[in-house]
C-alpha cells in the first residue's frame, strides 16, 4: 500500500518535470539515505525512494525538492515557479496532510524548499 506522502511525492515529481526550465529532478534526501534506499530497492526489500521528500504532520505538509535547471532560463525564475506550483498543488485539496482536522484548504501553509542543485 502506498503512503499518502509517496503519492504526493510522485505527483510533485511529475509536476516539476512539466515546469519550463526544470531540466532534472534529483534526490532530495540525504545521500546516505539515497544510497541505502537504492541498495534496498535492488534487493526488493522496499519500494524505490522518492526523489521529492514529502512528510506531513499536524496538518502541515513539508516538501523538499532538488532540481536541475536549464541555463537558458534564469535559475531564480525557474526555482520560484517550481515553488509556486508545489504550493498550488498542496493547497488545491488534492491531498490532505496527516493530522489535518479540517478540509485541506484550511490546513497550515505548506513548508516548501526548492533546492537548485545544477544549472546547465
Amino acid at each position: 500500500m502506498t503512503a499518502p506522502e509517496d503519492t504526493v511525492a510522485d505527483a510533485l515529481e511529475l509536476l516539476l518535470r512539466t515546469i519550463p526550465g526544470v531540466a532534472a529532478v534529483y534526490p532530495s534526501a540525504p545521500l546516505p539515505a539515497v544510497i541505502v534506499g537504492g541498495v534496498l530497492t535492488k534487493t526488493r526489500v522496499v519500494a524505490p525512494p522518492r526523489l521529492v521528500s514529502v512528510s506531513s504532520a499536524r496538518g502541515e505538509w513539508r516538501v523538499t525538492a532538488a532540481i536541475g535547471v536549464d541555463e537558458n532560463v534564469p535559475a531564480e525564475q525557474t526555482g520560484r515557479a517550481a515553488r509556486e506550483r508545489i504550493v498550488e498543488y498542496l493547497t488545491s485539496g488534492a491531498a490532505s496532510p496527516a493530522g489535518a482536522t479540517s478540509p485541506a484548504s484550511a490546513t497550515l501553509p505548506p513548508r516548501v524548499t526548492v533546492r537548485i542543485s545544477m544549472v546547465g
Binding site: 534526490p27 546516505p32 536541475g68 531564480e76 526555482g79 517550481a82 533546492r115 537548485i116 544549472v119
Partner: protein, 263 residues
C-alpha cells in the same frame, strides 16, 4: 577571504588522488572522477542511473566535458610539434573538479518567507561562475571561492576565480571578459549582490614549440606581446619564464585585476 577548500596540487603520481583524500565522496554518489571520465568518454553509455540522477556527478561531468575541449584545443595548437599534453596540469584541474562539485551551503535566491524558500547550492553557484568564465575562449576556470555571507540574501559577495589561459591572449582583456561574464550570469540566475570579481591567472598554457624555440622573453607571463598590460602584478615572486610551459605550470600566479560591480 576564507578559502572553502584545499586544492593544492596533488603529490605523487596517482592522477586521481587529492593530497589528503581520494576523489570519491558523497557528492559524487559514491563514484570516482575516474569512473566519471570513463563514463563521459563512453558517450554516457550505457546509461547509469546513479550518475544521471546525481547533481554532483552532473556538475563534474560538465567540467570534464570542458576540460576535454580545452585539451583538444591545446593539442590542435601543438599539432606540428606533437607535444604531450601536460598531465600534471590536467591532474590539477581534475583535483579541483572533485573539490568544487560539493554542494556546500544553501544560498537563498528568493524569498525570506518563513514557510518556504528557494535556494541554490553553493556547488551549483560555482558551476554558474565557472561556466561563465569558461565561455571565454581559451579559459578554464579552476577553483572558485566566495567571500561574504552567502546565506544572507542581499549580503555583499566577492567572487574569486583561478583561471588557466592559453598562450597568445591578452591577460587583462581576457580577465575582463571573464569578469563580465561572471557578473552577468550570476545576476541573471540569482539575486546575489556581487560587489567584486577577482580573477587570478593561475597558469598560462603555451604550445611547446614556442618554449622550444626560445622566444627570449623571460619573465613573460603570457601576454601576446610579452606584456602583461602593465596592470596585472606578479604574485608568485618567481623570476624567469612563468608562462606555464608544459613542464613548468601549476605554481604561477598573476593577478588579473579586480573588478567590482555594485548592484
Amino acid at each position: 577571504m576564507t578559502p572553502t577548500d584545499d586544492t593544492s596540487p596533488p603529490s605523487g603520481d596517482d592522477l586521481r588522488t587529492l593530497p589528503d583524500r581520494q576523489l570519491t565522496n558523497d557528492e559524487l554518489a559514491g563514484h570516482t572522477i575516474d569512473e566519471l571520465i570513463d563514463y563521459y568518454d563512453a558517450g554516457l553509455m550505457p546509461p547509469n542511473d546513479s550518475i544521471d540522477t546525481s547533481a554532483g556527478c552532473q556538475l563534474a561531468l560538465a567540467d570534464i566535458a570542458h576540460l576535454r575541449q580545452l585539451t583538444m584545443h591545446l593539442v590542435d595548437d601543438d599539432s606540428a610539434a606533437q607535444p604531450p599534453v601536460d598531465e600534471g596540469w590536467i591532474t590539477s584541474i581534475l583535483s579541483h573538479i572533485g573539490a568544487q562539485v560539493e554542494a556546500g551551503r544553501d544560498v537563498p535566491v528568493f524569498g525570506a518567507e518563513v514557510d518556504s524558500r528557494v535556494v541554490i547550492t553553493e556547488g551549483a553557484l560555482r558551476a554558474i561562475v565557472r561556466a561563465a568564465g569558461d565561455r571565454v575562449d581559451g579559459v578554464f576556470v579552476g577553483r572558485c571561492r566566495f567571500a561574504g555571507d552567502l546565506t544572507e540574501l542581499g549580503a555583499p559577495i566577492e567572487v574569486e576565480v583561478e583561471a588557466s589561459m592559453l598562450w597568445g591572449q591578452n591577460l587583462m582583456q581576457t580577465a575582463e571578459l571573464v569578469r563580465e561574464n561572471i557578473v552577468a550570469d550570476v545576476r541573471r540566475h540569482t539575486l546575489l549582490n556581487v560587489v567584486a570579481v577577482n580573477v587570478v591567472v593561475q597558469d598560462v598554457r603555451r604550445p611547446s614549440h614556442v618554449d622550444e624555440g626560445g622566444d627570449g622573453r623571460e619573465g613573460n607571463d603570457g601576454g601576446p606581446e610579452g606584456s602583461d598590460g602593465g596592470r596585472s602584478r606578479g604574485r608568485g615572486g618567481r623570476e624567469g619564464n612563468d608562462g606555464g610551459g608544459p613542464e613548468g605550470g601549476g605554481d604561477v600566479s598573476g593577478v588579473g585585476g579586480t573588478g567590482g560591480a555594485e548592484r
